[in-house]
């Protein structure tokens, strides 16, 4: 076990180094921060004598119309009740997170197809160590990206006399754990699928399904759409990281520490369960494409 963890740590270190030597992470992080900058400045431009008025800024007018039309005015009110930072956090993290998750899935598939993973297993590492190493890489880089975004947003808040707000700080661990659970899904998809492109397609399909179900259950659409979404959600929500993320936010919204901590714990448990499932599959199936 100790050898496996050591091997996973070495693989993670190596993969982090490789990621830091390629432009993808920097570009997506810069893109995320740029989007955050637009959102923060747009919010400041939307403030008048009575508070936040999205109609004053074209970007926020568009965002408020879209979100209000899809999820309702109450949703928009909650999202921006403490300022722009909760939304800015989600938007800024999205490109980095998407890059990390997709890159991991694709890389695992490619290395599996090329036989690189199999080659590793003839040495001190096994398939599980490789998977664990890949996951640790995602954990470390997601944390790094979140820290960079936190610093950026904190500086922008200080410069504009804005507040990050308690909801923002609580959202950080929620977003981080949700990212881990999604990365764990990516790893499981890579193990199950036979090659990189099918792994990527499977991963994106699963994510899209979870997102659609979440959006459906939160939408203010007509009753039939909501009913279909609710029926689908009752079956699938228990394996969806977005469901537990939403549970955390509901707990935050209602002041219920139980729901928040429960949601965080379940996100962690889901990530662990997915990794365990990945371990079981890779142990039985091996690392050959």
């Amino acid at each position: 076990m100790r050898d496996r963890i050591h091997a996973a740590a070495v693989i993670a270190r190596r993969q982090i180094q490789e990621t830091l030597l390629s432009p993808g992470l920097y570009v997506t992080l810069a893109l995320g921060l740029l989007l955050g900058a637009f959102l923060v400045r747009g919010f400041a431009a939307s403030i008048d004598s009575s508070g936040f008025n999205p109609q004053l800024n074209p970007l926020y007018d568009l965002i408020a119309r879209f979100l209000g039309g899809t999820f309702g005015g109450a949703f928009v009110g909650k999202l921006f009740s403490e300022g722009p930072y909760l939304f800015a956090l989600l938007v800024s993290f999205a490109p980095v997170f998407a890059y990390l998750a997709i890159a991991s899935v694709f890389r695992f598939g490619l290395e599996k197809t090329a036989g690189a993973v199999e080659l590793l297993t003839y040495g001190p590492a096994d398939g599980t160590a490789y998977v664990l190493g890949s996951f640790l890489k995602d954990v470390a880089l997601a944390l790094l990206a979140l820290l960079a975004i936190l610093v950026f947003l904190a500086v922008s808040a200080a410069a504009g006399n804005l507040v990050l707000g308690p909801l923002f700080f609580w959202a950080l661990p929620v977003v981080f754990l949700a990212a881990l659970a999604v990365c764990a899904y990516g790893i499981l998809c890579s193990i199950i699928a036979s090659n990189a492109s099918s792994a990527l397609a499977l991963f994106l399909g699963v994510l899209l399904l979870f997102l659609l179900i979440l959006a459906g259950s939160y939408s203010i659409a007509s009753a039939p759409v909501r009913s279909v979404s609710t029926v689908a959600a009752t079956v699938i929500q228990w394996i969806s990281p977005f469901f537990y993320t939403a549970m955390c936010f509901r707990g935050l919204q209602g002041g219920g520490a139980g729901a928040l901590l429960g949601g965080l714990g379940l996100l962690l448990a889901l990530a662990a369960a997915l990794l365990a499932a990945g371990h079981a599959v890779i142990s039985r199936k091996g690392v050959r494409a």
Partner: protein
């Protein structure tokens, strides 16, 4: 031929707007509907459930009133609402309402006479419901109050007319006495000693008076889902009358919200309802606040309690204002220390001249505003030129802080500098350039060794 074709084309084009105009007339469809008078936490909302409505939403633990009718239903595109044309068709169905809970237990709910009314409280609207015999009693009481009032008004008018006539008669006598060279002082004394009758005050017992008795099925249910259907007096079930009832309740009560009134937009107040919310303002004007109690409801359920055809978010809760906080004060934390704000009366003066605008000034009942009523009763929070942030909370009548009333006001005078944000956003790219150039340099420096290794291997 071509002329005829051109004529037809012109005719067609001329008729096109008429076709569009006729399409704008709403189509009325005859439907079996449930009219709903639902208590929404602060007052009663009248709405209806059309045939295609999937559920009726009611608040738990309070009386709500349902009745089944045949009416014409149409969509009014101007406001985007479904409406009923009850003037053309409004057929009330008698019978019994059969109600099942989720456990399958059924019970019959009979039609009952009811009325609802609102009696005056100190700050609040206090809704009451009278059922059965109490309806006539309450309605009679209301009528008696007004009959007494009208009698008093008639007596006042008579006394006032008599007073005016007596005054006129005395005035005539005084003038005649003066013309005759007599002393009118006795008459003048008499005239002065006459007391003008005082007009009676209208009854203030009711803010909303009781209506004549109406008939409905009165539902007062605990939280849960139920099914209803209408049973005709002959025991048969009315086709299409089955409906789901969703009874919801408040998630949290007695939260504190604020109505925020900037002095330049006093007619368009904003609300700060989320307890942790931050109030961002640009600091151009002072703020006038009004704290209120609020309850938290599921957004969809509440929206559909108020209007059965409304849309709402099923997973979001929203705060709804219920009543003003009585005898409250607001404590503002400033760098100089806490300041206690009291409720004051204000008068809104329109800016004179061609420029539009308002000025809110303290109400002066003895001076400039004599004979006028105040426009605004609120707590003034002054926003100074150097004000950056303020923290405030509401205190109750005993000076105790009200939980959940804490708010922060942030004065955002300008957006964060674009140069700063763009520079920070560009830092990862700068870091990338640095890392890649270092790597390139390191790679180049190792090139001779690699070449040597290659040549040795061959």
């Amino acid at each position: 031929m071509s002329k005829a074709a051109a004529f037809l084309l012109v005719l067609l084009l001329a008729l096109l707007p008429l076709a569009a105009a006729s399409a704008q007339v709403p189509v009325r469809t005859e439907q079996l509907i449930y009219t709903i008078l639902a208590f929404n936490g602060k007052d009663y909302s009248a709405t209806f459930a059309a045939e295609n409505s999937d559920a009726i939403y009611l608040l738990a633990g309070v009386d709500s009133f349902l009745s089944a009718r045949k009416a014409l239903v149409y969509f009014w595109p101007t406001t985007g609402e479904w409406k009923t044309d009850t003037d053309s068709l409004n057929w009330f169905f008698p019978g019994t309402l059969e109600l099942w809970d989720r456990a399958g237990r059924a019970r019959d709910i009979p039609l009952q006479k009811f009325t609802y009314y609102n009696v005056k409280g100190e700050y609040e609207l206090n809704w009451k419901v009278a059922v059965g015999e109490a309806v006539a009693r309450e309605f009679n009481r209301y009528q008696e109050l007004y009959q007494d009032y009208f009698k008093s008004v008639a007596a006042f008018q008579k006394a006032n007319t008599e007073y005016e006539s007596s005054q006129d008669a005395l005035l005539q006598k005084i003038m005649k006495t003066r013309q005759a060279g007599g002393d009118p002082s006795t008459l003048l004394e008499k005239m002065k000693s006459m007391v003008r009758p005082v007009a009676p005050e209208p009854p203030k017992d009711y803010v909303v008076p009781p209506t004549p008795a109406q008939e409905a099925f009165i539902l007062n249910l605990p939280r849960g889902e139920y099914t209803i259907r209408l049973k005709n007096p002959d025991g048969t079930v009315m086709e299409g009358s089955e409906k789901r009832i969703v009874v919801h309740e408040r998630r949290r009560t007695n939260g504190i919200g604020y109505e925020v009134i900037p002095s330049d937009k006093w007619t368009r107040p904003e609300q700060s309802t989320t307890p942790s919310s931050v109030l961002h303002v640009n600091g151009s004007t002072d703020l006038y606040l009004r704290p209120f109690f609020q309850d938290e409801f599921a957004d969809l359920a509440y929206a559909r309690t108020v209007d059965n055809a409304a849309r709402g978010n099923p997973n979001i809760y929203s705060w709804v204002r219920t009543q003003q906080v009585p005898h409250a004060s607001i404590e503002v934390q400033t760098p100089a220390g806490p300041t206690l704000l009291g409720e004051r009366l204000y008068y809104v003066e329109q800016t004179k001249g061609s420029g539009l605008g308002y000025t809110i000034v303290p109400f002066d009942p003895q001076g400039a505003h004599k004979g006028k009523a105040p426009n605004l009763i609120a707590y003034k929070v002054a926003i100074g030129k150097d004000t950056q942030a303020l923290r405030l909370r509401a205190l109750d009548g005993n000076g105790k802080p009200l939980p959940g009333s804490e708010r922060q006001i942030r004065v955002v005078r300008a957006a964060p500098p674009a140069v700063l944000l763009l520079s920070l956003a560009g830092l990862p790219l700068a870091l990338m350039a640095l890392v890649l150039s270092l790597r390139e340099r390191r790679y180049s420096s190792q090139a001779p060794a690699r070449e040597a290794l290659k040549s040795n291997s061959f």
